[in-house]
């Protein structure tokens, strides 16, 4: 989704756009939001129904911030809010013939907006039923392998298994895997050739895999 690119666009560009062309006739109505604003919207919608495109554009641009605030009250995600606003605008366009100018515009608008907001919330509810947010505490609490206690148990088990290896293999594993020396360092420290160390490590890992991999040994 291109929500990050889209988000600043409308909010920044819309506000001056909405004010500039409408400044002369809407100047006094802007500070007085409630009573006069509604009357204005009602008249604009009536002219829009008659095909007046300028009135329609002014109306849509005026109600967009209002719809955005309405949607943001219920929907947390910013890109979902913008999708909802667009959805509401599309619905308004589809059912604009159902508006009766004799009746107030506010309830008509809010009913349609609530409809679309509820739809979005339902969709979110459905999708979140199949998703689990992954947070740090979930990894340690709900996944048993990630639990620290379990880690300690399996570490002890591994150490015991290493102890039971033949001496050459045990030294090779200790130096190369537990102390993390390089092959050359390990060879210099123990006096065993690099090739023998490799063979011993390979055999030790194979044996450890057999010992730990047995079903009876698993916790």
């Amino acid at each position: 989704m291109s929500s990050k690119m889209r988000r600043p666009g409308p909010t920044l560009s819309l506000v001056p756009e909405a004010r500039d062309p409408a400044a002369p006739d809407r100047g006094p109505t802007v500070p007085d939001t409630r009573a006069d604003g509604r009357l204005d919207w009602s008249i604009s919608m009536a002219s829009a129904q008659a095909g007046d495109r300028d009135a329609y554009r002014r109306l849509l641009e005026a109600i967009t911030p209002y719809l955005r605030a309405l949607a943001a009250r219920h929907i947390a995600n910013r890109s979902d809010v913008e999708d909802t606003v667009q959805d509401i605008l599309l619905t308004i366009h589809t059912v604009r013939h159902t508006y009766d100018p004799a009746r107030p515009f506010g309830p008509w608008l809010v009913t349609i907006a609530n409809r679309r907001i509820i739809d979005v919330l339902r969709r979110q509810g459905r999708s979140s039923a199949h998703e689990i947010p992954v947070e740090p505490e979930h990894e340690t609490l709900s996944v048993p392998e990630a639990n620290l206690q379990e880690e300690a148990v399996s570490a002890r088990m591994l150490r015991d298994a290493v102890e039971r290896l033949p001496a050459g293999q045990r030294d090779a594993i200790r130096m190369l895997k537990l102390e993390e020396l390089s092959l050359l360092e390990a060879s210099a420290a123990s006096g065993i050739s690099v090739a023998s160390l490799k063979v011993a490590t390979h055999r030790a890992l194979k044996r450890l895999r057999e010992v730990i991999g047995k079903p009876g040994n698993r916790t």
Binding site: G51, E82, H97, P107, R115
Partner: protein, 216 residues
Amino acid sequence: MTSTPDLIDSLVADAQPVRRLRPPAMRALCWLLFAALVLVLVAVGHGVRPDLMLKLRQPVFFAGVLAALTTGVLAAMASFMVSIPGRSRRWLLLPAPALAAWISTMAYGCLTDWVSIGPDGLSLGETARCFATLAVTSVPLSLLMLIMLRHVARLAPAPVAMTGSLAVAAMTAVALSLFHPLDATVLILLWNFGVAALFLAFSGLYGKRLFEWVAR
């Protein structure tokens, strides 16, 4: 996805003049006139039940038909009212008293004279004719209602579909009571409430999809 200003541009470019809907009460009246026309046509084509005059003098039968008719009228009004955004949802309760009256006349009929089988027994031919009346009455009424209320597809389709189908079911029940000699109480119950329940369940489940299909 387009940005919101782009969307507004395209909507404005598409803003043809639209014809406003007439007041919902008047549209409901149009639908009811059509329903009356359908009932009259069925009456002419099929003929009323032979003992209609006799039955209409029985208060329970008369009250039942009247209650069903009232339910149909009020449910039609309610669905046209609620289909307009911004109207109160309490309009949905409008048919409730008439519906209660309809149900109680049925229940009263069941309690006072339970006729398990009519004088001629259960005849399959009559049942088939009942089905014919059911289809001839309900299909055109449902279609007209769906077309008249297609704008509701993007609004709140389920409650509107349910009140609308209650209206259709009540009208169909009136037609069945007037045109078919249903004496067995079981059959009356079946044809009245079976139809209503069927329509309500169907519209509750598929109302949204039906409206979307018609509105497309």
